[in-house]
Subunit: 157 residues, 2 copies
């Protein structure tokens, strides 16, 4: 089934989903963030079909979030590394992980993160770039931005 593309939507959420919104893609990226970089390792860890994994990796490479880099010449073997554009998706994976930890991990988080600089196990707190205070949904309102055009999905209140 060919699904609707979000590519032409003038919405940054849709643009992100166009890159990572396919089933499996964010779990592949989760594993790459955790140090799994090779096709066979990803395939074994995820229990995904080789065919689907090939498709997803190709799309992630074509979208510029992973790059395919040779790690061995003879025979040629490749691994997948995050680009800067890919590394920035850490915030998406992290937001999902923390949501799952809060709402769907009754025995506690399976994975946590340690902040290298301060040395502590830490949660990520969303804060305001202007005043530094913690921010959640009720603390903000969506407003029309400079990139809005006719037909952009904008706030209605």
């Amino acid at each position: 089934m060919k699904r609707t593309s979000f590519e032409t939507m003038n919405c940054s959420v849709a643009q992100c989903l166009e890159v990572v919104g396919e089933w499996w893609s964010l779990l592949i990226l989760r594993d790459v963030f955790m140090g799994v970089r090779r096709f066979d390792d990803l395939q074994a860890r995820l229990g995904i079909s080789r065919n689907v994994l090939t498709q997803r990796l190709r799309h992630l490479v074509d979208s510029g979030v992973l790059e395919r880099v040779p790690y061995q010449q003879n025979p040629p073997r490749y691994e997948y590394r995050l680009t800067e554009k890919g590394i920035d998706l850490w915030h998406v994976v992290t937001a999902m992980r923390q949501w799952g930890d809060k709402w769907a991990a009754p025995d506690g988080p399976p994975v946590e993160i340690a902040h290298k600089e301060c040395g502590h196990r830490a949660d990520i707190v969303s804060t305001c770039s202007e005043c530094g205070e913690p921010v959640s949904a009720r603390d903000v309102r969506a407003v029309t931005g400079p990139g809005a055009v006719a037909g952009s999905p904008l706030p209605v209140r």
Copy 2:
């Protein structure tokens, strides 16, 4: 096509994707966050088929992130409201929006957020809960958490 369920994976990212990972679900939530709450309004704004919208809304209600609330008695009409569990998904939608703003919005962000308390248009900055410093992927390492079990997808380095 029946797709693989992530429900039994002991991974919080997978648990989040099980709730919101279907194509369209996060765009539906984006619109609910922007104040669109009624079926016909969602359908018109998203240009989605009524059948798919019905399925996605049902799954979001069954998962406890939206609730279906009557807003009119005669004839009965319902709207969809975010629960606390749903409101927490704002961090996921926001992380996606900011990634799209940075990497896929050459004319600038279509939508921005204003922080009500300080009054400024703001970005969300991910910070460490322990030391308060800004954090991104390179500043952390993933570590095994208390909820890990045999077979959990854990960090490999």
